[in-house]
């Protein structure tokens, strides 16, 4: 029995009268690579943003190492520092170089020394293959390079779980591969990951758990074999076949 890092119970989220998420339940254990798939507007990204408290859920609870982070007053920043996030649009700090991007969180949030932070940053920048670019500003990089730096920035905080919000959706096709291969490596190293993605091949080959969302609920979930080879529900099959056609 592996430790449950993250447990979501009866989570719901509404924007005004529009209910985006309804009664979501799922668990992320240490070392899990969970892919969340589904059509646009099915609530995948909102779910991820709720988990990182970028959106406040309307009801339900999120347990992080058994502690409900929604009932705890304040401390959202501290929780976020332990849950990394990689965005669709990179969100690198434009006023800093690549290296500074990976250092600032460590020195300001984790209060680590500058030398130590620099070593840590270099370690992860080397891992994603961006070490030669440490002096560049984000505007000087390609999309794929920016996303790899964003992954290094998140990793430098040594998060317990790393959330990916459609990390390759804003990239040119030829750059998707470099980001996915970094993510593959990370999964291979046992990093706990929660990935919202349209890359079905990645979801099928890399993750050990696949969640299919539809209309704000978890429609079906299971191992990649179950979902991709023998889905139980008609809608899942329909969604996947639509994707395979494209």
């Amino acid at each position: 029995m592996r430790d449950a890092i993250l447990q979501v119970n009866h989570l719901s989220k509404s924007f005004g009268t529009h209910q985006v998420l309804r009664d979501i339940d799922f668990t992320v254990s240490a070392g899990d690579v969970t892919s969340i798939i589904g059509a646009s507007g099915s609530g995948k990204s909102t779910l991820l943003r709720c988990i990182n408290l970028l959106e406040i859920p309307t009801s339900g609870e999120i347990l992080f190492h058994g502690e409900n982070i929604l009932s705890r007053k304040g401390g959202a920043a501290k929780y976020r520092s332990k849950v990394g996030m990689v965005f669709q649009s990179f969100n690198l700090f434009n006023n800093m170089t690549v290296l500074e991007n990976c250092i600032v969180g460590q020195t300001k949030v984790l209060k680590k020394g500058r030398e130590e932070s620099r070593e840590q940053a270099m370690k992860f920048l080397t891992k994603v293959g961006m070490a030669p670019f440490i002096n560049a500003k984000p505007r000087q990089l390609s999309g794929g390079q920016k996303q790899r730096v964003a992954i290094a920035r998140a990793l430098a905080m040594e998060p317990a779980v790393l959330l990916f919000d459609e990390p390759t959706s804003a990239l040119d096709p030829e750059m998707v591969g470099e980001v996915l291969s970094v993510m593959r490596d990370l999964a291979g190293e046992g990093l706990t990951m929660l990935v919202v993605t349209h890359e079905m091949a990645f979801a099928r080959d890399v993750s050990n758990h696949v969640v299919f969302m539809r209309d704000g609920v978890i429609w079906e979930e299971g191992g990649p074999q179950e979902i991709f080879v023998s889905p139980r529900k008609e809608e899942t099959r329909e969604f996947l076949s639509r994707f395979m056609e494209r």
Partner: protein, 318 residues
């Protein structure tokens, strides 16, 4: 043409007579404009930051009420001081204080009054500029900062404000140039800046037009210098368009990667041991390279020798 020549002579005469008065005025104008713009920017930044503190329906009532109250107060401040002439604000504040305190309190130092008026006025414009500057920064930047666990203040200080300041630099420049010119109305409360010098000199010599010509040239020079300076600062803030790739070679890597290597680390140039080890490493590489070249030459010679062999074979065959 002779009129122009006469104007030149008049200006020269005026300058000879009261050049120091004009220069004194220029100095006062510049000091007032710089100080008041700086304080005004500070006021603007404080207002802008206070105005953009987010609150949600989940926050406690007192916090929401306080933030709402702050926004209302700033709104009133901005509308009042942006919506009335500065010349009136000067009179209002300068004479208002003694009026309300029955002359118990007065502005004994004219500098304090002048800086106060111009700062408050500039602040009301800057509050809106800063708010605009903060809004103009991509919300993704805030999310990126929040996602690595930064608090609102940390996000503002390290991520949003540096970008907002760059975005509103043209606005700051505008305000600075406007202040250089508009401080001229401070003569109304008896502040002796550049325009007051004109009033004094012209009143004494009756040479209104030549003195006004000096003023025109003087103000234009100040504002041109200011805009040049601001452009330069903007360029400086943008930084270089290019960047250096950090090579894989260990020595260049050291130079590029570690801008300020800490004392005692292996990359510290002041650490003789580290320098020695780096040199040793480099020498070793050099030796390796030489060795490789020598090996290559040997192989080459052997191959050449190999070419000769068939000849000998042929001979033998004969």
């Amino acid at each position: 043409m002779d009129k122009l020549a006469q104007l030149g002579q008049d200006i020269a005469a005026l300058w000879a007579r009261s050049g120091s008065q004009y220069l004194h005025g220029v100095a006062n104008t510049l000091i007032l404009a710089v100080v008041a713009t700086a304080i005004g920017c500070l006021i603007g930044f404080i207002c802008g930051i206070l105005q953009t503190i987010p609150y949600t329906s989940r926050d406690p009532l007192w916090k929401r009420f306080l933030l709402k109250l702050i926004r209302v107060i700033i709104r009133i401040y901005v509308e009042v001081f942006r919506g009335t002439p500065m010349i009136l604000q000067a009179v209002f504040i300068f004479y208002g204080l003694p009026y309300f305190t029955n002359n118990a309190m007065q502005f004994t130092n004219i500098w304090v009054a002048a800086i106060l008026v111009v700062s408050i006025n500039t602040g009301s414009y800057m509050a809106e500029s800063v708010r605009g500057g903060i809004i103009s920064v991509d919300p993704g930047q805030t999310e990126g900062a929040m996602a690595i666990g930064m608090t609102h203040v940390q996000t503002m200080v390290h991520v949003i404000l540096p970008q907002a300041i760059r975005n509103i630099m043209p606005q700051i420049g505008n305000n600075f140039i406007i202040n250089i010119k508009d401080t001229s109305i401070m003569f109304i409360i008896g502040f002796t800046e550049f325009f007051a010098a004109h009033k004094g000199v012209a009143g004494a010599t009756y040479k209104y037009f030549p003195s006004a010509a000096i003023e025109m040239i003087g103000y234009l020079c100040m504002t041109l210098a200011a805009s040049f300076l601001l452009r330069w600062m903007e360029k400086k803030m943008d930084g270089s368009d290019s960047y250096e790739l950090v090579q894989d070679d260990s020595l260049t890597m050291t130079a590029g990667t570690y801008n300020h290597p800490g004392r005692g680390t292996p990359f510290d140039e002041r650490n003789p041991e580290a320098v020695k080890s780096m040199l040793r490493e480099e020498l070793r590489r050099q030796a390796e390279r030489d060795e490789a070249i020598r090996q290559g030459q040997l192989a080459e010679q052997r191959r050449e020798g190999g070419i000769h062999t068939p000849n000998t074979d042929r001979k033998e065959g004969k």
